[in-house]
């Protein structure tokens, strides 16, 4: 199982300080909910996709779009039922299928959804996970919380591998073809696999606790860290940019 969301690159988003990038992500997510015109919303979404594509690559941009395409399809399909009032654009036998207001609302929702998706995925595609954790620690995330996330990421591949091996061995023992089984029987057969996988995972808890104690967890001394965010320069400028970008987008909506 791959838990790495980072895509190696050298674009400006990679050189942007992770703390400022986190702030920019939050501000942009809020910006998408502001009362702006549809044209401005679309332009900003286009700029986000463009900067994402130039930094993380067109393949990443396409893959992200494919992952949200079923949701976008649903938005289009439900468009006739959302807004019934307003000037009709398409009518079939006296039944108004789409109104101008309904179309605008659907496009607005789709643009907002695409924008939020790209902003969130770009943060994790252009920032290494331990730098995200360091940025969160800088924002006063408790040490224990960041340790839990880091340890969870370490254990995910181990538990996933265990689960795959256990489910394979259970499948080999069964004589009956999986496809011929009824849904209820399939669920029932899942219980031994899940139980074995959980027992294997739970057995690692005492060992992990002991390792933490041996490495000094719970002592009063100040903690050291292998990684730091010192490699990022012009942090102050990055923070100013993070605050300025959404404000500029907002004023562009008012004046143009």
């Amino acid at each position: 199982m791959t838990t790495n969301t980072y895509i190696a690159g050298t674009g400006w988003l990679y050189r942007f300080d992770p703390r400022a990038k986190l702030l920019l992500m939050l501000l942009m997510c809020v910006w998408f909910f502001l009362p702006v015109s549809l044209l401005h919303l679309s332009i900003v979404v286009g700029l986000v996709i463009l900067s994402g594509s130039t930094n993380a690559g067109w393949h990443h941009a396409w893959r992200t779009f494919v992952s949200i395409s079923p949701m976008l399809l649903f938005m289009v399909l439900f468009m006739p039922f959302n807004v019934r009032d307003g000037s009709p654009l398409l009518s079939i036998g006296g039944f108004t299928v789409i109104t101008a207001e309904g179309l605008e609302q659907a496009l607005r929702l789709m643009s907002r959804f695409i924008g939020i998706t790209y902003v969130c995925t770009l943060l994790f595609a252009t920032t290494v996970m331990h730098e995200v954790m360091l940025a969160l620690r800088w924002y006063h995330l408790p040490y224990k919380a960041s340790l839990v996330v880091t340890l969870a990421f370490t254990y995910i591949p181990f538990i996933a591998d265990g689960f795959s091996q256990i489910s394979e061995s259970h499948r080999l023992r069964e004589a009956e073809d999986e496809k011929k089984k009824k849904f209820g029987q399939r669920l029932k057969d899942l219980v031994p696999t899940l139980t074995s996988a959980l027992v294997v995972a739970l057995r690692s808890i005492p060992n992990l606790a002991m390792s933490l104690e041996m490495r000094g967890f719970g002592r009063e001394e100040r903690r050291t860290s292998y990684h730091s965010l010192d490699a990022y320069h012009h942090v102050c400028i990055h923070f100013i940019l993070s605050c300025t970008i959404p404000v500029v987008f907002w004023f562009a909506n008012i004046f143009f």
Binding site: F74, T117, L147, V148, V149, I156, L202, R203, I205
Partner: protein, 173 residues
């Protein structure tokens, strides 16, 4: 002594969070707004076995991390709230004093609360922040099915794990 207990708590929550992530990502059925999965099995198992706080943290964090890894980062805050609350409520309802068995009535109430929290939580939060009421409503049947199956399997798995690995009962907090 307190340090030892804290290390055990951190180790337990970390492994349980990883379990929720694996159960969320192993079986996936694509739907309009993402995918259906086995996360509720892991959440109900944790709620039945480890208590409210472990269930809240592991369920919320595990599902949010799974969303981040899978490329559905926009759903991570919603998943954190909905599944965290789901784990907390189910664990509070089935929490028992001493060795007394959980009554059938409480299990039924926990099942109802589990299904209602997931389906209504996702409906309300996604209608409010991400999509429209009609699109969010289209996902309710899928969420009901996922949480109902998750609760039933979680209950069965919890009993089986307690029989297969008895020390698990001493880990609850």
């Amino acid at each position: 002594m307190q340090g030892n207990r804290n290390a055990l708590k951190v180790a337990m929550v970390s492994v349980l969070t990883a379990v929720v992530v694996v159960f969320t990502m192993v079986v996936r059925i694509p739907t309009a707004k993402g995918y259906l999965n086995l996360c509720d099995v892991a959440i109900c198992f944790i709620a039945f076995t480890f208590g409210p706080w472990s269930a809240f943290i592991a369920a919320g964090l595990g599902t949010a991390l799974a969303d981040l890894i899978s490329g559905y980062a926009q759903w991570a805050p919603i998943s954190f709230v909905v599944h965290g609350v789901e784990g907390l409520l189910v664990a509070l309802i089935v929490q028992k004093k001493g060795d007394a068995a959980v009554s059938l009535g409480r299990k039924a109430l926990a099942a109802f609360v589990c299904i209602a929290t997931v389906s209504l939580g996702y409906f309300a939060l996604s209608a409010l922040f991400i999509s429209t009421v009609s699109v969010a409503a289209a996902e309710i049947p899928g969420n009901i099915a996922q949480s109902a199956v998750g609760f039933a399997l979680g209950l069965a798995v919890s009993a089986a794990v307690k029989r297969a690995y008895p020390p698990v009962s001493s880990l609850a907090w």
